[in-house]
Amino acid sequence: MESTRFNLESEQVESIAGKSETMVLSMGPQHPSTHGVLRVVLELDGETVVKARPDIGYLHTGMEKLAESKTYAQVLPITDRTDYLAPMSNNLGYIMAVEKLCGLQNEIPPRAQFLRVLIVELNRIASHLVWLGTHALDLGAMTVFLYCFREREQILNFFEMVCGGRLTTSYFRVGGLPNEVPKDFIPRVQKFIQEFPDRVNEYEGLLTKNPIWKGRTKGVAQISAEDAIGIGLSGPSLRASGVDYDIRKREPYCGYEKFDFQVPVRTEGDVYARYLCRVQELRESTRIVQQAIDGMPEGPIRADCPKYVLPDRNKMKTEMETLIHHYKIITEGIHPPVGEVYFAIENPKGELGYYLVSDGGPKPFRFHIRGPSFVNLQALAKMCEGRLVADVVAAIGSIDIVLGEVDR
């Protein structure tokens, strides 16, 4: 890592030797708008960016390797800490990958699926709110930031209600949910969801038609559909370039096929288009949550599958076998069959894929995360080069990265 960083510098220095007018600016890792510890090495000609190189790894914690020494249940908390703005989505992706590995896809009870969709969509709203707030803050609109965090706070309260954690939730379990949601959870979410579209109007009122905001975002950091696909962009950043790709629609998981929602697509591919896409997603997620509440089925929240899923505690008191299964799962962890799976979900930021290899033991043989932030960050250089320093900040904000997941 050290040598890479050194090379970055020397490469810059060589290119300077040709034209003596450029200045190398190391933006980050301690910088107010690189959204964490991203470092971007900028070569500047006046205020124009000649070259931009993202330098990552300042938050590397070896999560993938770490997972190899933990049981399947213990890996779950690691996933919270990758994209810490969307912990529920990460939990869902991982849990569904394990379920696929164990062949449990069709065993999940409908109530668990609906609750999962509800919570994950709330998480999408929360994640987009942080994005909108910080993005607006980067471009100088300070008030939007606090408005967004006001609503995000409510969503975090919902998370706290269901699992006790606000940021690191570790909520979902293989086969369903660990516990039933509290009685007043659904009514409270209902109330929030009814108010929320007005709140989105409030954010939009400050930004969408604001000439300064348009000036800062329209035509800035454009990326064409070809380039976007070539780089591997996903999520709203891809859809803003005119590619209609959303895993919730393409390969529905967790019962998304039962929900009626639109996937916002725009063709401009600039910061403004990405902004509009995400703001529209806020509204669409609200619709999904509403449908999940309306169609919420009754029934169990865990699959009946004693090899992989913890049994009902009441049964344990009467059935010997159930007690044994419980003991085995708690002491050894689950033993998925030998094999490998890749499972991807539509995280708020894009395609979040988990790749798991099982050797039949209680711990994953290999664990890999295909993180949307990591892949999307590649587009940064292409977006920034030839533009102004201020646009770098706009571009970083618009691709919505979380460094916890980039570095892992």
Binding site: H31, G140, I212, W213, R216, V389
Partner: protein, 347 residues
């Protein structure tokens, strides 16, 4: 007592009072800003130190004094120390020619609510305030930091560009008033039309446009949102004062608020009739009311400043330049021409 003694005592007292009041106002405008922006953003703002956080500016001031004062090793030490002073002093100086109120009486002595009435008051203000840019440019350069340098460059370019339209928009007022003395300009705005519209310059047609250009340029001059590029924290960390800490930073900080106050006071004087307003009641109240009206108008401008900050995003550097040179400047020039025609036509 000789006239000279009276003059000296008079001026000394006035200077001390005005500078004290100004510094107090600067400190409390930081409180006002934090409190107002907080309420715009559905939060409380400072409310721990004193009633509604009223002692917060004092706590902040003490904190600034006790903070470690860092001078970067590679900085040019002399200029680095000098720069905040250069930024701060002109910001305070310009208040000396602004009339706060009409004559007040202390016994038999008539006292003018103004430190001195220069016959070139307006020119003096422009001369002094444009010195402030040196503080910013030198501070940024002397810090030996790339962000500071860029902030300083942006700032110099911005302040010089907008200085032009600021100057041009004031020319219209001079054309109408025919004097550079601020006291006279205020006096000319006394009285009413049709008994209820005050004869403020803002209600004179071409001067309305010059008020617009004046205030927009003034926001840019004082580096405030949406023109706060020199210290655009999201791009340049803290702009020209990135490396400054302790009291040196405080001086830059205070200079910014002092400039805001000056610009607001000048807008009040030039366009909103200065200290004019309804006067009633006993003699002492009639003496103090102008002061109140003046402060109320300045407060309205400060409120507007803060309100803008709570609402608008920031311009980009090139957009700011384009706006200044391609829109504001031509508008200001056109307005000067228009005003000259109106003045010539009216005789």
């Amino acid at each position: 007592m000789s006239d000279l003694t009276v003059f000296l005592i008079n001026t000394t007292i006035k200077s001390i009072v005005v500078i004290g009041a100004m510094l107090g106002a600067v400190a409390y405008s930081t409180w006002l800003e934090r409190k107002l922006v907080a309420h715009l953003q559905v939060r409380w703002g400072p409310h721990r130190v004193g009633w509604h956080g009223l002692l917060q500016p004092i706590a902040d001031g003490l904190k600034f004094i006790f903070k470690e004062d860092i001078i970067p090793t590679e900085a040019s030490k002399f200029i680095y120390i000098l720069a905040p002073t250069i930024a701060f002093i002109p910001a305070l100086l310009s208040i000396s020619v602004i009339p706060f109120g009409s004559l007040g009486f202390f016994g038999s002595h008539a006292v003018r609510f103004q430190i001195t009435d220069l016959n070139i008051g307006l020119l003096f203000i422009f001369a002094v305030t444009s010195l402030g840019v040196y503080g910013v440019a030198l501070g940024g350069w002397a810090s030996n930091n790339k962000y500071s340098l860029m902030g300083a460059l942006r700032s110099s370019a911005q302040m010089i560009s907008y200085e032009l339209s600021l100057g041009l928009s004031v020319v219209s007022v001079l054309l109408v008033a025919g004097t550079l003395s601020l006291e006279k300009i205020v006096e000319l705005q006394s009285g009413t039309w049709f008994g209820f519209i005050p004869k403020w310059n803002i209600f004179v047609l071409p001067l309305f446009i010059s008020f617009f250009t004046y205030f927009v340029s003034a926001i840019a001059e004082t580096n405030r949102v949406p023109f706060d590029l020199p210290e655009a924290e999201s791009e340049l960390v803290a702009g020209f004062h990135t490396e400054y800490s302790s009291m040196k930073f405080a001086l830059f900080f205070l200079a910014e608020y002092a400039n805001m106050l000056t610009v607001s006071a000048l807008a009040t004087t030039l366009f909103f009739g200065g200290w004019h307003g309804p006067a009633f009641g006993p003699l002492w109240l009639q003496g103090l009311l102008p002061l109140f009206w003046f402060l109320a108008k300045v407060f309205a401008f400060m409120f507007f400043y803060i309100w803008t900050r709570g609402t608008l995003p920031r311009f980009r550097y090139d957009q700011l330049m384009a706006f200044g040179w391609k829109f504001l400047m031509p508008l200001a020039i056109a307005n000067v021409i228009l005003t000259s025609f109106v003045v010539a036509w009216k005789g």
